[in-house]
Amino acid sequence: MGNLVEIENLSVSFSTYGGSVHAVRGVSLTIRSGECLAVVGESGCGKSVTAQTLLRLIPTPPAQISGRVRFEGADLLGLTERQMNAIRGDQIGMIFQDPMTSLNPTMQIGRQITEGLREHHPSMRKAEAKRRAIEVLAQVGIPEPEHQLKRYAYEFSGGMRQRAVIAMAIICRPRLLIADEPTTALDVTTQAQILELIGRLKEETGMAVMLITHDMGVVSHMAERIAVFYAGQVVEEGPAAEVFRRPSHPYTVALLRSRPRLDLDRSQSLLSIPGTPPDLFAPPAGCGFAARCGLALKVCRTHQAPPFALKDSHHSAACWLHHPLALARHGEPTRERLEQEVCHAR
C-alpha cells in the first residue's frame, strides 16, 4: 500500500527567553494507508510536537519548522490556512492526552461532535448530522447515544469522555487518526478498553493510526510498526515484531527493559537507565544517547549516526554499532550485550 504520510527531515525549534529549544531534530517517518505506527519515547522527546506539526497546530512564530510533511502527496507545510482547515478533522483526526480538558465544558457533547462534521459538509442537514453523531457514539461504545447528545462533559466519566473525544475525531471518517497518549490519563482497565476501541475502529474503517505513547507495553498488540524517539530524533524504526524481537539501538533496549517483564524474576526485571536526556537548548553534536551509553565509541560524541538498515527488511537503527566497521570489529550488538552495557539494576 502507498504512503499516506511522509515526513522528511523535520525540525522544529521554539524560540524562548532562555534560547532555542530544538524539540524535533531531523525526523523522517512514513505512515502507510491503514497501518498503525506507534511512536514511543520518554516524556519530552518530541512526540507531541511531531504529531501536532502534522496538523500544523504549532504556531509559527514562536516555533520554526523546517523539512517536509506530505499527506497523500500534498505538502502540508506549504498549504494556506484555509486549505489546511479542509484537511484538519476531515482527513486527519486527532485525540489528545487528557479527555478532561479536551472537551469544552460549556458546550453540549452532541454539538461538539457534530460541529466538525457540519464544518466540512456545510450543506448537511441538522437532523442528518445528529443521526451521524448517534451512529459514531454507538460505534465508540457509548450506551444510549441518543440520550447523551444534550449532556455536558462534566456528566461523563474519564473513559466516556475519551470515547466522546474519539467520536469527535472520527466522525468525518478521516484517513489518519493521530492519538497522542490517549490512555495516559486513564486508569488501567479503561486504558485497555480505549486501546481496544482504537484498534477496532482502525479495522472497521481502514484508517491509519499514529499511536503516541511512552509505554512500550501499550503498543505491542496494536502497532504494525514502531518508531522510537529519543531527544527529538528517531533512533530506531521497524516492524513492531522485529523491534520487539531484535531491538537494535541501545536506547530501545533500555526502554524495553525499564518496564516489568514476566519472564524474568523480580530482582532482574526492573532496570533503569542512568543519566538524563540531553539539554534540548544545546543538543550534543554526536549521538544524543552517548552520555548514557556504556558502548559509546569515540565517533559517537562527535558525529550523529545515520539510520543503518539492519539485515531484516525495513528495520533501521541510528547507532554507530551498526556501521560495517564496528560490526567487523565488535560483531553483532545483540540484545544481551546491549542490556549488559546500558542497563543497571535499580
Binding site: 496538523l55 484538519r88 478533522g89 480538558t101 472537551l103 460541529e115 464544518e119 455536558y152
Partner: protein
C-alpha cells in the same frame, strides 16, 4: 434547574431578612435621635417619640416594621412632611436607575469588547491601547473622572451639557463617568480570562477539527472566557448603584443620592432604613438574576440530584 433556582431564591430571601434586621438595629444604635434639636422642648420631644412609636420596646418596633414591609410599605419620612418613603423612591429612583442601567450596559459591553480585542491582539499596539485605558480607568476615582469630563467636554469643547437630566445629551457624560472604572476592570478581567482559555486543550481540539479562527474564538473561547465577568455582574451592579450617588451630585441628577445623604444627616430612621432596604432588595435580586444566568451559561453550576449521584 428548578431546584437550583428555588435554592437561590431562598438564599436571596434570607439575605434580605438579614439585611433588614441589621440595618434596623444599627440605625437605632447611631448616637442621637431624629428629634435632637435645641428648638424642641423635652415635652415636645416626648410627644414626637411617642407619635412615631419609638417609646415602645425595640422588638415590638421591629416586628411592626417587618409587618409593614411585607405589605410593601417602607414607612414615612420624618423630615419631608410625612411623605411616604415609597413616594420618594417612586420620584427619585427612575433617574438613578436610568443612569445606573446605562452605565452598567456601557461598562459590560465596552469592557468585554475591549478585553476581547486586547487579548486577540496580544502584544500589538491595540492591546497596549486597551491596557492603557484600563489602567487609567482603574486608578482614577469616579468623582475625578466626573469633573474631568465636565471640564473637557463641557467647559472647553462645549460639546455636551455639564449638568441636569433633560434628555439623551445630558446622560452621556454622567454615564461615561460612572461606567469608566467598571469598564476598565472588566477589560482587564476579560483579557486575562481570554488568554487563559486560549491555552486550554479544547481550543486545540477545536482547531484540529478544522474550525476557522472566528468560530474557535466565538464558540469556544469567548463563551468560556466570559464566565468570570458574569460572576462579577452582581458586585459590579452594587458598585455602580452606589457610585450613582457621587455622580448624581456632580451632574445634579435628581436621583436617590440626595435623599440618602439628607436622610443620614437628619438621622431620619425610616428614610435611611427604607432606602437601604430598597437598595438591598434590588441588589439581592440582581445577584439572584446573575446566578440564574450563570446557571444557563455554565452547566456545571446547576447542582442537581443527578450530579450528586443520588
Amino acid at each position: 434547574m428548578v431546584r437550583y433556582i428555588l435554592k437561590r431564591f431562598l438564599i436571596s430571601l434570607v439575605t434580605l431578612l438579614g439585611l433588614v434586621t441589621a440595618v434596623f438595629f444599627l440605625v437605632r444604635m447611631m448616637p442621637g435621635d431624629p428629634f435632637l434639636s435645641d428648638k424642641l422642648t423635652p415635652e415636645i420631644r416626648e410627644n414626637m417619640l411617642r407619635y412615631w412609636g419609638f417609646d415602645r420596646p425595640l422588638h415590638v418596633q421591629y416586628l411592626h416594621y417587618l409587618g409593614n414591609l411585607i405589605r410593601g410599605d417602607l414607612g414615612i419620612s420624618m423630615h419631608y412632611n410625612s411623605v411616604p418613603i415609597n413616594r420618594l423612591i417612586a420620584d427619585a429612583f427612575p433617574q438613578s436607575a436610568d443612569l445606573g442601567i446605562r452605565a452598567l450596559m456601557l461598562a459590560v459591553v465596552m469592557g468585554t469588547t475591549l478585553g476581547i480585542v486586547s487579548a486577540l491582539n496580544r502584544g500589538r499596539w491595540l492591546d497596549y491601547a486597551c491596557i492603557l485605558v484600563a489602567i487609567i480607568g482603574v486608578s482614577l476615582p469616579d468623582f475625578i473622572m466626573g469633573y474631568l469630563l465636565q471640564f473637557v467636554f463641557g467647559l472647553k469643547l462645549k460639546l455636551l451639557p455639564i449638568a441636569l437630566w433633560k434628555g439623551f445629551k445630558y446622560t452621556i457624560l454622567p454615564t461615561i463617568a460612572l461606567s469608566f472604572y467598571t469598564t476598565a476592570l472588566l477589560t482587564r478581567i476579560m483579557r486575562a480570562s481570554m488568554l487563559e482559555v486560549v491555552h486550554q486543550d479544547f481550543i486545540k481540539v477545536a482547531k484540529a477539527k478544522g474550525l476557522s479562527t472566528f468560530q474557535i474564538v466565538w464558540r469556544h473561547q469567548i463563551r468560556n472566557a466570559i464566565l468570570p465577568v458574569v460572576t462579577l455582574l452582581g458586585p459590579i451592579t452594587a458598585a455602580i448603584l452606589t457610585g450613582t450617588f457621587v455622580i448624581e451630585s456632580i451632574y445634579a441628577v435628581p436621583g436617590m443620592g440626595k435623599y440618602y445623604v439628607l436622610g443620614i444627616q437628619n438621622l431620619d430612621y425610616s428614610q435611611i432604613l427604607g432606602l437601604t432596604v430598597f437598595y438591598g432588595a434590588f441588589l439581592v435580586m440582581a445577584n439572584f438574576a446573575v446566578d440564574i444566568v450563570y446557571g444557563f451559561i455554565d452547566p456545571r453550576i446547576r447542582v442537581d440530584r443527578r450530579e450528586r449521584g443520588a
